[in-house]
Structure formats: structure tokens, C-alpha cells
């Protein structure tokens, strides 16, 4: 035991990106894609049988591409018995992804006597089966694991555990969670599926409808959306360059992008109203002043003002703050939890598993 060293990690296993923060100072992310070489030739070309993230997307024609996370949870984990084969494959793919991100942060570490302890964020209303799937994919890769609600990890990392409302806008889900100084219950949380992926799909359909001759994929419009997303009524016109019969042509997509990005707003504002209205009236004003936007979607230009405007209209007042590092907020909070967790608590968990 004298030679053991503990390495704490916080993981945000997202639909779009898997983000990891480690106690040795390394933090990084990988797009949640795993590619398996189709044959020996591809394997030789890629230098490996399995590739991840951007590389997997780049060589997607040469690999069998998997995206193991859907709507914030491991695919098929809601009903593993019904889709046994697919579920087993997804678990195997997810394990590869976890193994890869862990290897990124431990590559310079001496593995002898190294204990890897981690906290993984799960969507606010993830089912027990979803959480079990998360435990399953880390078995044998990490020594000790805890599953914690994602908005809670964000709140913990920002030290906003009291009377605040976290809105985590991801690719698969938007999680709204009010904090009352303890682990949020089901009544404190709302999860909506109108998230980044939904915006991508709506944006894609709108461009398809307007520019019938343009050729593009969902990944192309997703990348464009991530760089230009906005909901405000005013601003510069924006155009996307898409190929038409092989020739790159600029297309004005200002209205389409605004319309697609606005799709997520009604669910968010309704969720805020519901969570504020059902909160202890003594602290409602405090809650309205502490609305925190996190996740990739929080970078949408004008979203903060849009929510504040809605809150002023329906709730009389509202103050929204964006986190400084939307991509790392969840993983940073999870890492803080992993580090703060007393050793005896981890030991209790080990004896249980």
C-alpha cells in the first residue's frame, strides 16, 4: 500500500464529446466517436484497429463508425434485453472510448501501484439502467467509480450548491437542475431532448429545403453551427460555403440558423418557469438571480439575453450567467468531487462492488 498513488479523474461522457480532467493537471476531450478498421489494409494505413474522435470522423469511409452515446446515455441501455446484441456492442465501443481517454491522461504515469478513481457525470434524469451501463464500461479500466448527476457536478465545480439553477445544454440533452445544498431529487431536475443534435437536424432540413442543389452532411452543418450559433434578432448576415455539383458556393443561412437555434429556447424557458414556480417562495428571487448556463450550447450568441428577456416577462426578473469554460465545466466539477471525496468513502464503495 505504501507505493500506491491515487490519480483522480472527472469525466463528462457526452453525446458529442467525452471530456476528461485529471488531478495530474491534464485535461482534454475527444469527440465521442469510435472507428474500427474495416480490413487489414485500413488497419495498416491507420496504424491501429481502433481510432477515436476527429481521426475516426476523418476516416469514416474506411472504418465502421460508432457513436456510443445517444441523448446523453449509453445507447440501448434503457432496454438492454430487447437489443442484447446492439447493447453488448455499444458497451464494448464505450469501453474502448473510456480506455482511450484514460490513456491520454495516464500516458506519462508509472502504472505500478497507480489507483485511478473517477467521477462520471450522467444526465440529470438518467435511469438506473443508464447508470449501470456507465459502471459496466469502466469495469477493469478504472479502480473506483462514482456516478453523479451532470448539472450537480457543474454546480459543485462552481461552488454554487445553494439556491442556483444550472442549465447544461449538451448535444443529446438539456438538463435543468436547481440546487438546494444537497443532491437534487427528481423534482429538482428537468431533462429535455431538444438539444444540440435536434438543432443540427432542424438546421440541416431547413438548408435542404432552401438550397436543393447543395450537397452537405449533418457533420458539416454541425461544425458550422458550433462556430456561428445565435438566436438574436439582429446581427450580421452569415453564409455557409457548400458544394454545388462539386463547386464551393456561399449560401445565406442566417434565418435558418436562427430558427434552428431557437428550437431549444421554449423548453428551456418553460423548464425555468416550472422549477422557479415550484421552489420555496422565500428563495425564489435568489434562484432567479442565479441561473447558470453551461455546456456547449451555452455559447449560442444571444441565448443569455433571450432567457433573461423571457424571465423578465413571465417571472418579473432574471439574471443569467455563462460559465467561463463551458466544455470543461462538467469534467472540472467531477474532478473536484473525486478529489474531495474522503478515502474512507471510496473504500466503502470498493467493499460494496
Amino acid at each position: 500500500m505504501e507505493n500506491t498513488r491515487v490519480l483522480s479523474v472527472g469525466i463528462d461522457l457526452g453525446t458529442s464529446r467525452t471530456v476528461i480532467a485529471c488531478s495530474n493537471g491534464i485535461r482534454t476531450f475527444v469527440p465521442s466517436y469510435v472507428g474500427y478498421a474495416k480490413d487489414a489494409v485500413t488497419s495498416k494505413m491507420l496504424g491501429s484497429n481502433v481510432i477515436f474522435g476527429e481521426k475516426a470522423l476523418r476516416y469514416k469511409m474506411a472504418v465502421d463508425l460508432y457513436r456510443p452515446i445517444k441523448q446523453g446515455v449509453i445507447q440501448y441501455s434503457d432496454d438492454p434485453e430487447k437489443h442484447k446484441k446492439e447493447y453488448e456492442k455499444t458497451i464494448s465501443v464505450s469501453r474502448e472510448l473510456i480506455k482511450h481517454v484514460i490513456s491520454l491522461v495516464t500516458m506519462d504515469e508509472e502504472t505500478d501501484g497507480l489507483i485511478v478513481r473517477g467521477v462520471i457525470g450522467a444526465p440529470a434524469l438518467a435511469s438506473r439502467r443508464n447508470k449501470n451501463a456507465l459502471l459496466e464500461i469502466t469495469r477493469g479500466i478504472m479502480d473506483d467509480v462514482m456516478i453523479v448527476s451532470e448539472p450537480f457536478t457543474v454546480a459543485y465545480g462552481l461552488n454554487r450548491l445553494y439556491n442556483s439553477l444550472i442549465i447544461d445544454i449538451g448535444a443529446g440533452t438539456v438538463d435543468l437542475c436547481r440546487m438546494q445544498g444537497t443532491i437534487p431529487s427528481e423534482e429538482d431536475q428537468i431533462t429535455t431532448l431538444m438539444a444540440g443534435d435536434h438543432v443540427d437536424q432542424v438546421f440541416l432540413n431547413l438548408i435542404k429545403k432552401k438550397y436543393k442543389s447543395a450537397n452537405f452532411t449533418v457533420n458539416m452543418v454541425k461544425k458550422f453551427k458550433e462556430e456561428n450559433a445565435f438566436v438574436s434578432a439582429h446581427g450580421e448576415r452569415i453564409s455557409i460555403v457548400l458544394p454545388v455539383e462539386g463547386k464551393p458556393v456561399g449560401h445565406d443561412v442566417t434565418d435558418e440558423l436562427r430558427k434552428a437555434c431557437r428550437e431549444i429556447v421554449p423548453d428551456i424557458v418553460n423548464g425555468i418557469k416550472k422549477l422557479v414556480a415550484s421552489f420555496n417562495p422565500e428563495f425564489q428571487d435568489e434562484l432567479k438571480a442565479k441561473i447558470i448556463l453551461a455546456g456547449g450550447g451555452s455559447q449560442t450568441i444571444g441565448l443569455k439575453k433571450e432567457i433573461e428577456g423571457y424571465m423578465k416577462k413571465t417571472l418579473g426578473y432574471g439574471k443569467v450567467t455563462k460559465v467561463d469554460e463551458p466544455l470543461y465545466a462538467g469534467a472540472n466539477g467531477a474532478l473536484m468531487l473525486a478529489k474531495d471525496m474522503p478515502d474512507e468513502y471510496w473504500d466503502e464503495l470498493t467493499s460494496k462492488s
Partner: protein, 140 residues
């Protein structure tokens, strides 16, 4: 009368001979000097030419660079381009580091002493542990 004519001839001849002698010696001396210098010239040049070239090369080089600077700034442009290229490489490296995580320190970061947590935080952490214990119980 005849005696005086003879004396004049002798003196004249003596003067002419003397002049011829001096002229001859002058030619011989010049010839010797020219021949000597010609004989040593090749050897001297063979030794001196590379030495002089090496010394003068520096001045020639400086002159060329100075001329480039004063006329076209080509030398400065070349240097600036090199610096720009290096900066680009550094920026790319920084982007890679940012993308794949910035290493703060290699070892010894994992402190054995945990930071002190207050009672309320401990209670929250306790709830998380209990929640995870329940999850594992149901998994069995």
C-alpha cells in the same frame, strides 16, 4: 693647334665612354632587378593571393549584405520570414497542447493530504456515496 684638337677628342671620347658605361650599368641593374622580381613574383602571388582573398572575403560579404539591406531589404525579409515561420510552428504546437491538455507538472501533483472539507460538503459527499452504493446493490 694640332695638339689642342687631339686633347679635345680624348676628353670627348672619355665623356662618351663614361656616359655609355653609366648607361650600361643602369640597364644591367634594371635588368637584374626586373629578372629578380619576375622570378619571385609567381611564388609571392601563389602565397599571398589566397591569404588576401580570405581577408577580403569578409569585407566583400559585408558589402553585399549591406547593399541588399539598403536596396531591397531582402536580407531582412528573409529573416522576418524565418521568424514568422518559427512563430507559426510555435502557435501550432500551442494549439496541439491546448487541444490535448496542458501539462502543469509531470509528477508529484497528487497530494496525499486531502483538503479539509466542511460538514455540509461532507454530508453532500455522503449522499453521493450512499446513492452509488444503492446503485451497486441493485446491479448485483
Amino acid at each position: 693647334m694640332k695638339q689642342s684638337v687631339i686633347t679635345d677628342d680624348v676628353f670627348q671620347k672619355a665623356a662618351k665612354y663614361s656616359h655609355s658605361t653609366v648607361d650600361y650599368f643602369g640597364l644591367v641593374s634594371w635588368s637584374i632587378i626586373t629578372r629578380c622580381s619576375n622570378a619571385g613574383k609567381e611564388a609571392f602571388l601563389r602565397i599571398a593571393r589566397p591569404v588576401a582573398k580570405k581577408i577580403l572575403d569578409n569585407f566583400t560579404g559585408n558589402k553585399q549584405k549591406t547593399r541588399q539591406l539598403s536596396r531591397t531589404n531582402a536580407y531582412a525579409d528573409k529573416r522576418t520570414m524565418k521568424i514568422e515561420k518559427r512563430m507559426l510552428q510555435l502557435e501550432e504546437r500551442l494549439a496541439v497542447l491546448e487541444k490535448h491538455g496542458v501539462r502543469v507538472s509531470k509528477k508529484g501533483v497528487q497530494s496525499k493530504v486531502k483538503k479539509a472539507i466542511d460538514g455540509e460538503t461532507r454530508a453532500v459527499l455522503r449522499t453521493i456515496v450512499e446513492d452509488n452504493k444503492r446503485l451497486r446493490t441493485l446491479l448485483k
